[in-house]
Point group: C2
Chain length 452, copies 2
């Protein structure tokens, strides 16, 4: 059996390893136009920051290690076309092209950074996106010589890069065109994060919301600044563009594979596409939201990994259903942890729930303990049914703990009332007697139509 | 309406505050034989350790604060008898006795340390239990002058005291008569904790399991050592006895209130006892285990607080059901976090489940991140139904996070298969791509009879 995998970062690499374990005698080939395979893209901001100094730490498995377990990796080998009728793919490696046959094909082409149409974006050196190993190497090298940087986009990559630059004493302006950093959060929670960041003493960065870069300026190909929508000009010698990503679906589209309503490749629970013997997983594939039941496209490394595993199992004939996602995420910027799961109040409303919500700010431990921090939690439920819909947390380390506790409640479709009976661990060194999460749920319970 | 509450540490204090908010015109009186009311007993080891220096930080609400909100607190006032027929209680304050009438009575008499029959236990100064504010003050004062201490009992209070003594450079021998420290854990998990503690460089303590103190020795009332079951003798000038607690039920028993099979006061979901208009909550009351449905007695501060709230609501005529507990707990000893929820494998087996389990040891973050620690997780499920039964974690900070994530799954009666679909938050700074918990669940899934 010939198994061909297109793309090898997270889901592709995982799928290859898993399918080879299940079918030791199958031929498994990974084709990728990248120069590296099987790496932790999410770790790039921490490599850039200097949390570790050897970029090869980001590599999970080298092509040699794949080879040793019987998997062939073809780097810088771009699949240019899929021929579903003939069951083969056209691969280009520089000037060489080749037709490679498959019995089962896994598309794991991932996503690419959106490159917004900002004047001058292609005219200067030192304007980067953060996606590949080379991006990390180049940005780190440049950052160490940089004085002033700009970051375009205030999502999680933007604020992780902000931490990296801040820790390396590069003065940074971050521009986010929407009215909030971390636009996936509800506005009020984003404001909590912004306030925490802005309260840092002697901070070496500025957060600009409702602010768009309209032009990069420089001289002789060298970046010197950026002009924003309000006509102001900011000096910089380094720019990071993290204005979102889009799924890499061209190859699938051309092959006649159905694209979902979200713009990503449509798959069923078995990670099968609309075309026989072709699977898709990871950032290029559409997902189902467990709380809303709706199709969504939320590309995250943890999901990619699980989908890769599930696709591999079905390729190997071992039944596996991937139930979907909750959109759970966590990120950190300096003193602030930001985490969420499930639906925001805004999303819940748009989908047609009647959301009610509660926001509480509490200490993360009993107040008399040392190193006590503050956590602000927002919990959301449906007013009519009491169904728990989601949670967001901003604050000290431990904010993510509360959000992870909610994930299992969402998987179990618990009501707020049921969740309020939760028996969380307690010790003064770990939480207050009544954890902020339970406190929020008890209050939320009173907002729903169910008795609590 | 006259509401009388017996006991005022955790559940009694909570009940008083809650019932007064719900019934502002009721008379609410707390009687306690203690010298303090409304305090964090769980915080005593941290006060002793010196994490904070003012013991009044442990006091949640002073009698004056209660007074200001219309609640009368009577300290050093022991309720000697309940007369359910006449609906009053006999209170003794030193030489004064008084009959106090009630319409509703809440028994929150808590638990008392077991004082094992060790020869000499009452003959010397500086042999303490850890329960009340005075205990904390006295132990701390003595510890600061101490060179060698012994701790009798290796449960969570024992190991928290070990941390306190170790951090204060008091060389300590801990004796636990069972074959494991933290006897509520499965043996193998207890061994992981023991190994971590024993691996501390230049540690200033020794852990002795299968070891019992048989005699305290000393001179002129001054403690100088302890003799153990194997005939050895250990020098010490300070001893902590934390060999368990027992529910304070005498008062209830004498009043003809039904005692449950566990030896604690029997209550229904509304925290009502078998006698009209008498409620019980906190450490003196029996609990229902949510996973097994069995009656248990696991006295913990977080439960006491919730039960107090629920009892108060029902006293005030606001319907509240307390569903029960999971036995969730967390504690810390030096570099080691220990947490659990639900049933251990041993308990599950004894109850009649067919438990299967998986133990995994993994990094708590992606390996390339700084300050990466290790977490060992044990997850337990029923082989036949796949029902998730419990989890235990030992390791770095973050072990408790994994256990809290399981609590919601237990509340929702999830199967391992359902839990394996959980979408936990991921970022390299917070967890590996596949969290140790999901990893453990995926392996456990294969051990059950359900397809995964």
């Amino acid at each position: 059996m010939n198994i061909v995998i297109i793309g090898g970062v997270a889901s592709g690499a995982k799928a290859a390893a898993k399918v080879k374990r299940l079918l030791p005698h199958a031929s498994v080939k990974i084709f990728t136009d990248d120069t590296h395979v099987s790496y932790s893209s999410c770790g790039l901001p921490y490599y850039i920051q200097g949390n570790f100094n050897d970029y090869t730490s980001l590599l999970v498995r080298s092509p040699e290690e794949f080879k040793a377990s019987g998997i062939d990796v073809f780097l810088q080998s771009k699949v240019e076309k899929i021929f579903p009728e003939q069951k083969n793919v056209l691969v280009r490696n520089f000037e060489t092209v080749e037709l490679v046959p498959y019995d089962k094909l896994i598309i794991a082409t991932g996503a690419s950074p959106v490159r917004p149409k900002i004047k001058g974006i292609d005219d200067f050196e030192n304007i980067f996106t953060v996606r590949k190993i080379e991006d990390g190497i180049n940005i780190r090298e440049k950052m160490l010589k940089s004085k002033n940087a700009v970051i375009i986009g205030g999502g999680y990559i933007g604020i992780e890069m902000l931490e990296a630059f801040s820790k390396n004493n590069v003065y940074t302006h971050l521009f986010e065109r929407s009215s909030q950093i971390m636009p996936t959060l509800d506005f009020e929670m984003s404001e909590v994060a912004k306030k925490r960041l802005n309260s840092i003493e002697n901070k070496n960065f500025e957060l600009h919301t409702d602010s768009m870069a309209t032009e990069f300026i420089g001289k002789d190909g060298v970046l010197t600044g950026v002009i924003t929508s309000d006509g102001k000009q900011y000096e910089c010698d380094l720019a990071i563009v993290c204005a979102g990503v889009k799924p890499n679906t061209e190859l699938a589209k051309e092959a006649g594979i159905e694209i979902g309503e979200t713009g990503a490749i449509k798959v069923n629970k078995l990670m099968r596409t609309s075309v026989e013997d072709i699977f898709a997983c990871g950032d290029c594939a559409e997902k189902t939201h467990i709380v809303s039941g709706k199709k969504v496209w939320i590309p995250l490394g943890s999901t990619a990994n699980k989908e890769g595993r599930c696709a591999a199992m079905n390729v190997a004939g071992v039944y596996c259903e991937f139930e979907g996602i909750l959109g759970s995420m966590v990120t950190r910027c300096l003193n602030t942890t930001i985490a969420m799961t499930g639906l925001t109040e805004k999303e819940a409303f748009e989908i047609g729930f009647k959301p009610v919500s509660v926001v509480v700010s509490k200490y993360d431990k009993v107040a008399y303990m040392p190193d006590t921090g503050e956590i602000t939690l927002k919990v959301v439920a449906d007013k009519i049914t009491g169904l728990l819909l989601g949670a967001q947390a901003v604050g000290s380390i431990g904010a993510d703990k509360r959000v992870n506790t909610v994930t299992s409640g969402l998987i179990g479709h618990l009501t707020v009332e049921e969740f309020s009976n939760n028996d969380l661990t307690y010790s003064p060194a770990y939480s207050p007697t009544i954890d902020p999460l339970l406190n929020a749920m008890q209050i939320l319970c009173n907002e729903t139509a169910r008795s609590c």
